[in-house]
């Protein structure tokens, strides 16, 4: 049987194919079946054979929501990895069936805000043509798996998490038993010593680790999550041998599917089950199922993981030096700033990881035009082995860039406003779509992000403030991850008006913590000034180059309270 790797279509002048997974004919047939299935479901919906209640879960499982103004299609970018050809196809979709732009989400996906139901089967076909899909980007099923956006490139990495992520993606796709769960189910993976994937805050977080014997396996964290009841995940297995991964995941899902609450959607996530059952009792249930099940009949063949891993083999890195990097930095202070903030160390000498900022000052966080998508693709073709990543910070990463190319790459990005030197800084704001698009929202988030971004646009001041995350959600569902921001903002409704609650001290990494509420809600206009005051207080309080979270943990919330009070006084003056 032919299971040959699809040869990528090589562009003239480029012989390097991106180091990412390619569909074999099984994958291709599978996705094709799903496109046909959805086409049929749309037909049956229009004919009335499927009622809206019956159709809804199926459209959701294909990423199609009804939003405030129109439908919205959420396309999966598995673990954030996207090739330049795929990016160009996304641009085509934006132009042909949407309104010329897309939105990168905090789950490394892209959303189109204006598709029509009748066109969605064609859009899914266009995605399938470049080995993409929208399967399980919504619904009460196992959602698309996320991973460290520096995977395969980071200097601090033990192992690239993407082969495991791809194995899980396949295993969880259309799972016959775990597709009608009590609620959505999210997994995240990292293979690094630094956690860039927020593994403590997912239904299951996996960390690739090495045991004392030198074997690779996984540390399994269960029951983290944000939303109405934010919780940090709990350790359920220190070291899970690699070969047992799928069986162990199945055991967890089995317990969740049977015992997770279905009476109240706000209590239906696995975090509540773990919490209400108690960690030890929950672990015992999982272990009992794990012991009873046919593990070898569930696990993938180790050869299967090896087959997948082969696709992710590192590109061949050349022996290169930094070229004129220092000269360019000296000549162009704005380029030097960009290198300072948006360039991260790479595992290979002479290479770097670059973040293209999708956070221009005053812009919409995560929104890219089709022209920008094409520019990003062209940059990837030329400088990054034809590959990009979508980060959960809603930026685009070029994973493998020669340091000697940084200047040229920066110039290219600059031509369409993609080179803002603010990665990780206070204007690198994460914001969910909020009430400008989202049907569930209680308030807008994007305009708040825009105002804060404008207020802090001065790059000297940003540099002085240093790394500081602001994250904004338009409702308690917390898609904007506000709970795990140094400064979080939650938009609510209070007596028919938008009202914004500030939380402080969130941390998305291994040392995860949930932000604490600072005080009563604020009017939209007050928010930027309060943030400004909070930052000033931080600057007064911090010792050395302490991060906000460390200052906050040291001094507590009290010193920050006056930020709200001052605002009240100022407000009464107007």
């Amino acid at each position: 049987m032919n299971i040959a790797v699809t040869p990528p279509v090589d562009k003239p002048g480029s012989n390097q194919r991106p180091a990412m997974y390619y569909y074999d004919h099984f994958d291709r047939d599978f996705v094709q079946e799903r496109v046909a299935e959805f086409r049929n479901q749309v037909e049956r919906r229009l004919s009335g054979a499927l009622s809206e209640d019956e159709f809804r879960p199926h459209r959701l499982m294909n990423g199609l929501y009804l939003q405030l103004h129109a439908y919205m299609l959420r396309v999966a970018v598995p673990y954030g990895t996207v090739s330049s050809d795929q990016m160009r196809q996304l641009a085509l979709i934006a132009d042909k069936w949407d309104k010329g732009y897309g939105h990168f989400t905090t789950r490394q996906n892209i959303q189109f805000n204006w598709p029509q139901l009748k066109d969605v089967p064609d859009i899914l076909q266009a995605l399938a043509d470049v080995e993409m899909h929208a399967i399980q980007t919504s619904g009460n099923c196992i959602r698309n798996v996320t991973a460290d956006h520096f995977a395969g490139a980071a200097a601090d990495e033990l192992e690239d998490p993407r082969p495991t992520a791809e194995l899980i993606r396949q295993w969880s796709t259309n799972h016959p038993e775990y597709t009608y769960l009590p609620r959505k189910f999210k997994l995240a993976l990292t293979g690094s010593t630094a956690d860039r994937a927020a593994v403590m805050l997912h239904d299951i977080g996996l960390r690739i680790v090495k045991n004392p014997e030198g074997d690779i396996g996984y540390t399994v964290i269960v029951g983290g999550g944000l939303g109405r009841t934010p919780m940090v995940g709990k350790l359920v297995k220190d070291f899970l041998p690699r070969a047992d991964l799928l069986a162990y995941l199945a055991a967890i899902l089995s317990v969740y599917n049977r015992y997770g609450r279905r009476d109240n959607k706000y209590k239906a996530r696995i975090k509540i089950l773990v919490h209400e059952t108690g960690l030890e009792a929950f672990k015992a249930e999982v272990e009992a199922e794990y012991a009873a099940m046919d593990r070898s009949g569930t696990n993938a063949d180790p050869a299967e993981l090896a087959r997948i891993a082969a696709y992710f083999a590192s590109p061949v890195f050349e022996t290169v030096d930094a070229g004129d990097l220092e000269v360019h930095k000296a000549a162009h202070p704005d380029f030097a700033r960009f290198v300072d903030t948006n360039v991260a160390p790479h595992k290979a000498n002479g290479y770097a990881i670059v973040t293209a900022s999708i956070k221009p000052y005053g812009g919409v966080p995560g929104d890219v035009t089709s022209a920008q998508m094409r520019l990003l693709a062209a940059v990837a073709d030329q400088y990054s082995c034809r590959e990009m990543r979508i980060s959960h910070e809603q930026n685009v990463i070029f994973p493998h860039v020669k340091q000697s190319d940084l200047f040229a790459l920066w110039q290219m990005l600059k031509t369409d406003d993609l080179a803002t030197a603010n990665a990780g800084l206070i204007t690198d704001i994460i914001a969910c779509p909020g009430m400008d698009y989202c049907a569930l929202a209680t308030a807008r988030s994007i305009p708040i992000a825009q105002e804060i971004s404008k207020l802090f646009a001065n790059e000297e001041r940003q540099k002085l403030i240093g790394k500081l995350g602001i994250k904004i959600s338009g409702c308690i569902n917390a898609c904007g991850h506000h709970h795990i921001a140094a400064i979080g903002i939650l938009g609510l409704e209070k007596s028919g008006k938008e009202s914004y609650q500030i939380t402080l001290g969130g941390d998305p990494t291994f040392s995860a913590s949930i932000g604490e509420r600072l005080g009563p809600g604020l009017d939209a206009e007050e928010v930027p000034h309060v943030i400004d005051s909070l930052v000033n207080i931080y600057l007064q309080q911090r010792q050395g180059d302490e991060l906000f979270i460390d200052t906050y943990r040291r001094v507590g919330q009290a010193p920050f309270k006056p930020a709200l009070e001052r605002e009240v006084e100022d407000g009464s003056d107007i």
């Binding site: 079946e33 049956r44 199926h58 396949q170 259309n174 799972h175 009608y180 009949g297 063949d301």
Partner: protein, 158 residues
């Protein structure tokens, strides 16, 4: 009620116990009336039943029907797998609110047949179920009754 087997509507020799009526041969009983069983019998399980509850009659029961109170409630899929794992080899039915779109998953988890209301059967006629049987050939999981396990195929192709 309509009974579906292998994508076709077929006659049903089983009937469900009527409240307070005496139990005859070929009756599917609710779990709490299982003591009244006579002759060939079946049982209708709620989807949160524990395997321990059916252990006593696992060797004698002919049909196990698992109730789907809503098609979005996936507990029945897990229960079906556990019933099969416990050794049940008779007819396993998905009963109630399931959709043709779930047919592949239903069969994969070990069910043989599907029993739906006449209202649902009118809206989702035999053709939908027959089509659903032909629709999904590929699955990524092992250990389920899927037509093509991609993982096993890949392994075989080595």
């Amino acid at each position: 009620m309509a009974l579906i087997s292998e994508g076709k509507f077929i006659p049903d020799i089983w009937h469900h116990a009527a409240p307070e009526a005496a139990i005859a041969d070929h009756t599917i009983l609710p779990l709490e009336r299982i003591a009244e069983a006579t002759g060939a019998f079946g049982v209708l399980l709620p989807n949160d039943a524990e395997i321990a509850a059916i252990k006593p009659f696992l060797g004698t029961v002919s049909v196990i029907a698992i109730n789907f109170p809503a098609f979005t409630d996936g507990r029945g899929f897990s229960l079906a797998r556990l019933v099969r794992r416990a050794g049940f080899t008779g007819e396993l039915r998905a009963f109630g609110n399931v959709l043709p779109d779930q047919y592949a998953a239903i069969l994969a988890c070990g069910f043989d047949t599907v029993e739906i209301s006449p209202e649902r059967a009118a809206r989702q006629p035999e053709a939908n179920w027959t089509a659903a049987l032909g629709g999904r050939d590929h699955a990524y999981q092992r250990g389920y009754h899927t037509k093509v396990s991609i993982l096993n195929r890949r392994r075989a192709a080595k």
